[in-house]
């Protein structure tokens, strides 16, 4: 139990207070398809990222910086969105999506994650 919770119980002269701390370890975070769909939506993320990336030559499927952050079993500790940087089984993942677009999305999400970590 956290010290502040223990101090509160003492202050209230209670011992049987039900206490639970709801904190998700990163390894328990679920990859909700709705999050992924929203991240791919230009009305949320903007067009700038893709416009910026489009003229560039296609990059390796997993750039070196991101390779250090994967694999999926060892999820990045500093970023929730970083977990979306690898393709996830989801209805939002259209099977025929262009390879370059997938690369761009991973880069975008990776940048988002790095910016916050």
């Amino acid at each position: 139990m956290r010290n502040d919770a223990r101090a509160l119980l003492e202050k209230l002269s209670r011992q049987d207070f039900r206490y639970k701390q709801f904190e998700d370890p990163y390894t328990d975070m679920e990859l909700w398809p709705v999050f992924e769909a929203l991240l791919k939506d230009e009305r949320i993320s903007g067009k700038g990222e893709r416009r910026e990336e489009a003229p560039r030559a296609p990059e390796p499927r997993r750039p070196a910086a991101q390779a250090r952050r994967a694999p999926q079993s060892a999820k990045p500790a500093g970023s929730f969105l970083g977990q979306y940087s690898a393709p996830q089984p989801s209805p939002a993942n259209e099977p025929g999506r262009a390879q370059t677009e997938a690369v761009d999305l991973r880069r975008f999400l990776g940048k988002l994650g790095q910016a916050k970590s």
């Binding site: 999050f35 009305r43 903007g46 969105l81 994650g113 916050k116």
Partner: protein, 243 residues
């Protein structure tokens, strides 16, 4: 003179609660506040201890009085013939310390756009639900939400015992960065206070909603002052560190 709009692209997300609590919070800091209700439901008054039979007439000009409760002047904008900006001009009277807060109906995107043109800050209220998150896509035509200026999102009715609620909170915090203005947690005391026709401070002075709105007020105040990297003692400080 400062103008804040409170709006949600999805109905039922609690804009009225947030607008009312923000108004009282700013008024408690000595700011003269005018709260303008642009919703049809006419429930804003309940947050100030008024009863359903008490009505505030739509503002049609200086011939009518606007009630002042807890330092907040309540004005009914819905049904008024006056434009929102004209209404602000009428009430400001040249007083630059005046704060105007608009509670805007979710269905009235046109009014949201109109007010956003002169508002100093536009607060979007969402619940931690897939429907609310998805409604963000309809907020602004032609611009992504990450490109909006003077814009922030607060997550209302967060209940941390639910996994999706926690995950929505973390998702938005990381997606929006500086546009993320934290959370207001769910507390049934809000409804109980309304049912008693009492203001929340009196009915449940320890309510977590009061604490969270204080943190939200701090963040908005800092934003209005142009202070980067807001540091608050509010409920979401831990989350901001965590993400």
């Amino acid at each position: 003179m400062t103008v804040i709009s409170v709006h949600s692209p999805k109905g039922g997300s609690g804009t009225t609660l947030i607008a009312a609590r923000l108004a009282m919070s700013f008024a408690g800091r000595g700011r003269p506040v005018t709260l303008i209700d642009y919703t049809r439901q006419d429930t804003l008054k309940l947050h100030f201890g008024m009863v359903p039979s008490q009505t505030i007439q739509p503002w049609q000009g200086a011939e009518a009085d606007a009630p002042v409760i807890g330092g907040v002047r309540l004005v009914k904008g819905y049904g008024s013939r006056m434009a929102a900006e004209q209404l602000v001009q009428d009430f400001s009277g040249g007083d630059t310390s005046q704060l105007f807060i608009f509670d805007i109906s979710s269905s009235n995107l046109e009014l949201r756009h109109e007010i956003s043109r002169f508002a100093d800050f536009n607060l979007c209220v969402l619940e931690p639900s897939p429907a609310d998150l998805t409604s963000l896509t309809l907020l602004d035509e032609g611009q992504s939400i990450r490109e909006l200026q003077n814009f922030g999102v607060v997550l209302n009715r967060v209940d941390e015992q639910y996994k999706l609620s926690r995950h929505c909170r973390r998702f938005l915090a990381e997606l929006l960065g500086e546009q993320y203005f934290g959370i207001v947690r769910r507390d049934e005391a809000v409804n109980e206070a309304l049912a008693q026709f009492e203001v929340l401070e009196k009915f449940a002075p320890q309510s977590v909603v009061l604490r969270d709105v204080t943190a939200l007020t701090n963040m908005i105040e800092a934003h209005l002052k142009g202070e980067p990297g807001v540091s608050t003692e509010g409920a979401d400080t831990a989350t901001r560190r965590a993400v």
